[in-house]
């Protein structure tokens, strides 16, 4: 047993070393190198801000609407509003559509051709048409986000329902369930893991295309902020925007994975 114990503490030490110490050190070294490069002048200040400046810029931008006429919080709020609206509409419409396409052959044959025409067009390619039709307001952006989130929602819920175990369907059939009952009682629950994966992809995609939409056509939002940062050659503003965009994206992914874990537990109890 003694030997076991040492093996065990070794394992723990390794975990500590590779999971905490080395990563933290790496980040610190990375930031120091970055700081030094800018300070010494290897990279000029007009190309890249010093990491030590970012904190000040962040605090300043919390209340300072210049140069693009809105503060950081209002930019974040505006971006969140747009992306979440588009995303939610896509989820509400896309997931049931995927279920029905996967379950009913008639709907499949009717919707599929249109869907297959639309699918390969990247959401970004919709931006020009949308701007011409809807202008550059809230509706236009929501529409673009909707497109980017809609496709993964449909594909994943379709795939999920297609993967329903045929034995389960047959069991339900022999119990005298109607086709619609089997869909709600068997097909939909068993498609949920795939649906969740789809939602995660959709959220990531909608956040990315939100940035694109705001950069191409907007008067507020984080994408607009970094675009203005470029216009006024304010790299500090750009990097701040990138950090915030990245953080929010990571936060979304984190929340969703937590939610998904909860769902999985519920599934295993059932």
């Amino acid at each position: 047993m003694n030997k076991n114990k040492t093996e065990n503490t070794l394992l723990k030490r390794d975990k500590w070393k590779y999971g905490v110490i080395i990563p933290v050190l790496t980040v610190v070294i990375f930031l120091i190198i970055w700081e030094l490069m800018v300070r010494v002048g290897v990279i000029p200040q007009r190309y890249l801000p010093k990491p030590s400046e970012l904190g000040n810029v962040f605090i300043d931008k919390l209340s300072n609407p210049r140069p693009e006429d809105s503060t950081l919080p209002s930019n974040i709020l505006s971006s969140l509003q747009v992306s979440l609206s588009g995303f939610l509409v896509a989820v509400v419409l896309g997931i049931p559509l995927g279920w029905f396409i996967g379950w009913y052959k008639g709907i499949n044959r009717f919707v599929r051709p249109i869907f297959e025409i639309i699918r390969p067009i990247p959401p970004i390619a919709w931006i020009p048409l949308t701007i011409l039709l809807l202008g550059i307001g809230f509706r236009a952006k929501v529409f673009i986000i909707f497109f980017s989130a809609f496709v993964p929602c449909v594909i994943n819920s379709y795939t999920g329902i297609k993967l329903t175990n045929i034995t389960l369907i047959n069991v339900a059939k022999t119990c005298g369930a109607s086709y619609f009952q089997i869909l709600t009682k068997v097909g939909i629950p068993s498609s949920l893991p795939m649906v969740f994966a789809g939602i995660r992809i959709a959220l990531g995609a909608s956040w990315a295309s939100l940035v694109a939409a705001e950069m191409l056509a907007a008067d507020s939002g984080l994408g607009f902020m970094i675009m203005m940062g470029r216009q006024f050659t304010r790299p500090d503003l750009i990097v701040l925007g990138m950090v915030v965009i990245g953080l929010i994206g990571a936060l979304f992914a984190f929340i969703l994975s937590k939610l998904e874990k909860k769902m999985v537990r519920w599934r295993s109890i059932k």
Binding site: M1, K3, N4, E7, N8
Partner: protein, 255 residues
Amino acid sequence: MSVENRQVKLKIENINKTYQVKKSYFTAVKNVSLEVYKNEFLVILGPGLCGKTVLLNMIAGIEQPTNGKVYLDGEKIRGTHKSIGMVFQKLGLLPWKTVMENTEIGPKLAGVKKSERQKKAKNFLDMVGLTGFEKSYPHQLSGGMKQRVGIARAYTNNPDILILDEPFGQLDAQTRYSMQDEILRIWQMQKKTIIFVTNNIEEAIYLGDRIILLGKCPAEIKKIYDISLSRPRNVMDSGFLELRKMISSNMDLAV
């Protein structure tokens, strides 16, 4: 093999394996000591899930024992060794390699020239009856054929000791019988020390010079039998049946 001629090839001394699962300890192999003689056909018989695979992996050096030692020809070994080959229960054929590439992998990794190693591999593929399948991929073969590739692969590396971990466990009964005869035939042609693991009593008596009976988890040696029946053995033979009865009364049932 007469008892006087026995020469110890592999010696396992007090080998243990304990895993830690969160806060509790789980012992898979407990104090196993055994000697394997040169050129014998040793069968290790035990119920399913009794730590047989762990024991084998430790002998082969794939896993490290928690404590205990393994000696080969009197020398202590650690980790895998060129003279110990293994045929895996779940085949372990590499799906991206053809039958030939799978078979020649041992010499290839050892840096043997292509023509030479392919000649060797071809030789053993012919021996297991896979002539003409050199360019096939594993997924194109039947279960029995895949296991033949596994055997040819182990032989091509020319080990002194060959460990077979329930090699026929996943085959259907018919194929299993013919593979048993096959492995005996190969063993008689190419004398090697064989350690054959199974959970099937009949298979054990049919094949082995000696049988080591393991108890239920943790794996622990319960009894050792010398089988003196002459080959080819007949499963309906009275001596065979008697042995079978004796061993089954001593064998723990798997849960």
